[in-house]
């Protein structure tokens, strides 16, 4: 399961609408809670360097990833996942998504954007220990309302 605030969830879906008909992409910062899953505390929109084929490809520049990882370290967070959009295609991982996925233990959120409108957002956890045994596993997305977040913060569960 991946937990994300309502505001961050809405923001990453809106990002897909903004860049339509091109793919958007970004990084999810937060913490992994063993036995529970990834908990997103901050999303960081990134640029898509695949300007040659931005309607069906995305790539985050390594330099930008280094900067985001540094930002995460400064905030006490980890990179726990990534998001991107599929313009006019289902919110399911593709063979390209799978081949290019190397962050085991991280969540890959995909939003389908149909005719400019975000429709479905699914999450896939990259499991396995190596390139040879990696696999995408469907994972539940729990969108937290502000009231739930406050309650969890007060209980020290965030």
């Amino acid at each position: 399961m991946i937990r994300i605030s309502e505001a961050d969830f809405a923001a990453l879906r809106a990002h897909g609408e903004e860049t339509y008909p091109h793919e958007c992409c970004g990084v999810l910062l937060g913490k992994n809670q063993p036995g529970v899953g990834n908990h997103v505390h901050l999303i960081v929109p990134a640029g898509n360097t695949r300007t040659d084929s931005a309607h069906n490809r995305y790539n985050i520049a390594p330099q930008e990833l280094v900067r985001i990882q540094r930002q995460a370290r400064g905030l006490g967070f980890d990179i726990v996942g990534f998001y991107h959009s599929h313009p006019d295609h289902p919110a399911q991982w593709s063979q390209t998504d799978f081949a290019e996925a190397h962050w085991m233990g991280c969540s890959y959120l995909i939003t389908s954007v149909e005719k400019g409108k975000a429709v479905t957002t699914n999450s896939f956890l990259l499991t396995g220990t190596s390139e040879e045994d990696k696999a995408f596993q469907n994972e539940q997305v729990e969108v937290e309302s502000p009231a739930v977040e406050v309650a969890m913060n007060e209980r020290g569960e965030a």
Binding site: E23, C25, V27, N32, R50, S53, N56, R57, Y58, N59, I60, P62, Q63, L65, V66, Q69, R70, R73, D78, I79, V80, F82, H84, H86, P87, H89, W93, S94, Q95, T96, D97, E100, A101, H102, W103, M104, G105, C106, Y108, T129, S130
Partner: protein, 94 residues
């Protein structure tokens, strides 16, 4: 020097996000890293000993692949290495 480890590889560094490793060049530092944390080797290098194509290594703010001496670039104790696997994909075949 300090080496920053990305989330998925921290399993092999005992959970540490930053490790200290000695080395005179980027290549010798990475080799020492693989000696200090043997389970990392397969994730960083191909069986032929080349850095895996999706593993980016930055010396401070520079991609090592684009430095004139690449992995043979001299690195000092105050430099920092960052290992960052690539992130890419797309919705369908071309």
């Amino acid at each position: 020097m300090k080496i920053h480890i990305p989330t998925p590889l921290r399993t092999y560094t005992g959970g540490k996000e930053t490790v200290e490793v000695a080395g005179a060049t980027v290549a010798t530092t990475l080799e020492q890293l693989a000696l200090d944390f043997p389970a990392l080797r397969n994730h960083l290098f191909t069986p032929e000993g080349k850095l895996r194509s999706f593993v980016n290594v930055y010396l401070n703010d520079d991609d090592v692949r684009y430095l004139p001496s690449k992995e043979e670039t001299v690195a000092g104790a105050n430099d920092e290495l960052t290992i960052i696997p690539s992130i890419a994909g797309g919705c369908c075949c071309l």
